[in-house]
């Protein structure tokens, strides 16, 4: 009999549940949309509940040091695979399941019917995402990355057309090469340290000899290249805008989340292995990460200004957000990290809503008007809108317009919403981190973030004007209740994040404090004992 309390098994549910549901969905006939949708959304809801429960457990006093360890197959840590839940993991799980729910609701009416196996692939992708957040073993991380990517290859091609295939070709080729880099990095780390468990690696890293430490650093760098390709650091993120622009709306929203996985993996490995306790290797490569992040920010800002259609713009917005996060991770410190995580939450939610919104706004414009708007801008054609005097704004327009404004405000970081709170606290934390003389790199980073915000607001304003004011359409576009509900929900969450920013920051403060106490992880993960089987008492004859 197992002595493990049932509640401990919740840790592995975010991996197992989507796997089982995804597999169940495969044999169900394609035409039974209702059933497939019900299963998918049921799994999503259950995942959300489990994630919130894990968050409460990690934040409460349930586990010592706020770190929950689950030994898969009951093998002790460095030999088996350990799943670890801390506040950061739980937060990412909640974010994933929230966006997944919104996306599933959004696709209920249209998108899950345009191709085969949408729901199965979606569940497998959730499995990969959740697994990548949970696992504490580098090779297992690779496996979950591949699960996530394989599902995303299918999803990017969802609603098969030539444009998606062309974009998918680049996307898959780049990610296959990145996976190979990941493998090279992992094997180098193994040969240098003899372990793949992140906590064990963190414990061993300071004691390595000079040559092994050198190998470890090379391995970590090569592995980081793979992570940063997913996270779209310049110049590794060139594939991203094309892929985003051509993917269907629900898939685009999930891709936003995938770029955050890359950033999360870098954060997780770097804080554990190259933290303050790592001796000569502490803060290894952080300067490069900051520089790369800043280059990414600049690239995103320029790309944002130069793009015409909404999908590409969303792609570049995701690049700006990734760049900001990478640059921020490069600056260690509790307050900076907490503000960065707040930025991650806000920008991911807003960007997911924006991806969904873009698809709806395409319906406003009659076919061919995109071309028209482009030429109008290029040649400054005087257009003569026939002003319909006295026509009220239709309800759909109002909803889409207001949601667009909220997304634009959060993405560009303008007051009064979450984006502004995030950027303001980032500036504050960055400046407070070096009290006497602020280094020029910090000033540069702040300047770039302001420029990025400015570029975003200009580009989004232009897009908004073109969609809502200059489209010349008075007829309100068809809008399903489910689509409105999902976008409305995400937008409402962005606002709630702003209103409740005090509570959120308290939580993030605890999260980063826990993360920076990196000696807790080896202690908790390696100290976790497998469950002993209770010996069967001999039956007296």
């Amino acid at each position: 009999m197992s002595a493990l309390p049932w509640i401990q098994h919740l840790v592995i549910v975010p991996v197992l549940l989507p796997l089982i549901v995804g597999a169940l969905l495969i044999p169900i006939n394609q035409t039974r949309y209702g059933l497939k949708f019900a299963l998918g959304i049921g799994s999503g809801l259950l995942l959300w509940v489990v994630s919130v429960a894990l968050l409460l457990m990690a934040d409460g006093e349930h586990w010592p040091a706020g770190i929950g360890v689950y030994l898969a197959s009951n093998w002790a840590a460095p030999f088996g695979i350990a799943l670890v839940v801390d506040r950061l993991t739980a937060m990412m799980l909640v974010l994933t399941s929230t966006i997944a729910l919104a996306v599933l609701v959004f696709s209920a009416r249209r998108w899950d019917r345009v191709g085969v196996s949408f729901h199965s692939l979606f569940q497998f992708m959730l499995m990969g995402l959740n697994g990548a957040f949970l696992t504490h073993d580098l090779f297992n991380l690779f496996v979950f990355f591949e699960v996530m990517l394989a599902a995303s290859y299918g999803l990017v091609l969802h609603g098969y057309n030539l444009r998606r295939i062309q974009a998918g070709m680049q996307y898959i080729a780049v990610n296959l090469v990145a996976s190979l880099l990941f493998l090279i990095g992992v094997s180098l780390i193994y040969t240098a340290s003899g372990t793949l468990n992140i906590a064990d690696l963190a414990g061993r890293a300071p004691a390595l000899g000079a040559q092994d430490a050198w190998l470890l650093q090379i391995g970590a760098t090569v592995m980081a290249l793979a992570f940063l390709t997913k996270g779209a650091m310049w110049p590794l993120g060139f594939w991203l805008p094309t892929t985003y622009a051509s993917a269907s709306a629900p898939v685009g929203a999930m891709l936003v989340l995938m770029t955050k996985v890359g950033v999360y993996a870098v954060l997780r490995v770097w804080l554990a292995v190259f933290g303050a306790e790592a001796g000569g290797m502490s803060h290894f490569g952080l300067a490069a990460l900051t520089a790369g992040g800043m280059a990414t920010l600049l690239f995103g800002a320029i790309g944002m200004l130069s793009s015409q259609d909404g999908g590409r713009m969303a792609g570049f917005a995701a690049i700006i957000s990734s760049g900001t996060l990478m640059a921020v991770i490069g600056h260690s410190g509790t307050a900076v990290l907490a503000a960065g995580l707040y930025y991650l939450l806000g920008s991911t939610l807003a960007m997911a809503a924006f991806m969904l919104l873009i698809e709806l706004t395409e319906r406003i414009r009659p076919p061919g008007s995109a071309m028209l708007a482009l030429t109008m801008e290029a040649f400054a054609v005087e257009d003569k809108p026939e002003d319909p005097v006295g026509v009220g704004i239709p309800g759909t327009f109002t909803f889409l317009g207001l949601s667009f404004v909220v997304c634009a405000l959060v993405i560009s970081g303008m007051p009064p919403l979450a984006g502004f709170v995030a950027k303001f606290s980032l500036f504050h934390a960055l400046l407070a981190a070096s009290p006497e003389a602020v280094p020029w790199t910090t000033w540069l980073l702040i300047a770039l973030m302001v420029v990025g915000g400015l570029a975003a607001i200009i580009a989004l304003m232009r897009l908004g004007v073109r969609i809502f004011w200059a489209s010349g359409v008075v007829k309100s576009p068809p809008l399903q209740v489910t689509e409105a509900a999902s976008i409305g929900g995400l937008v409402a969450l962005c606002m709630a994040l702003t209103v409740q920013s005090g509570a959120v920051f308290d939580f993030l403060g605890r999260t980063t404090e826990g993360l920076l106490r990196s000696q807790d992880y080896p202690q908790r993960v390696l100290g976790e004992q497998p469950v002993q089987r209770v010996p069967q008492t001999e039956v007296p004859r």
């Binding site: 290859y153 094997s187 180098l188 040969t191 793949l196």
Partner: protein
């Protein structure tokens, strides 16, 4: 032995890089395959090269110097399976692209002269 293996891995990987930079999808996928072979060999070599040493001990007592490291062998097995699956997936997509666009160029269209 190490130097021979290192040079061969380098040649295979280098050929792969050259091939993935070529414009045709067949060259691309051949390049990816070569690169994944090279990476698999690389993982294998990371467990230190040894001749005639079993990875699993048949009997006690255990002397670690007499055995090859079993972990990279397990890793390489997983890596082969995953690499094989993703490459197969890519192949399917390439056939789709060929059918839809009528071109085997990686951009999905023939370059304009």
């Amino acid at each position: 032995m190490e130097i021979t293996l290192a040079i061969s891995i380098g040649i295979v990987f280098g050929s792969g890089i050259w091939l993935i930079l070529r414009p045709r999808t067949f060259q691309l996928i051949t390049g990816l395959l070569l690169m994944s072979y090279a990476v698999n060999l690389f993982i294998f070599a990371m467990g230190r090269l040894a001749v005639d040493k079993p990875p699993i001990t048949p009997s006690l007592p255990i002397d670690p110097t007499q055995f090859a490291d079993p972990l990279p062998q397990a890793l390489v097995l997983t890596a082969i399976v995953i690499g094989f699956a993703t490459t197969a997936l890519f192949l399917v997509m390439m056939i789709g692209a060929r059918g839809l666009s009528g071109s085997d160029h990686v951009n999905g269209e023939e370059p304009r002269p």
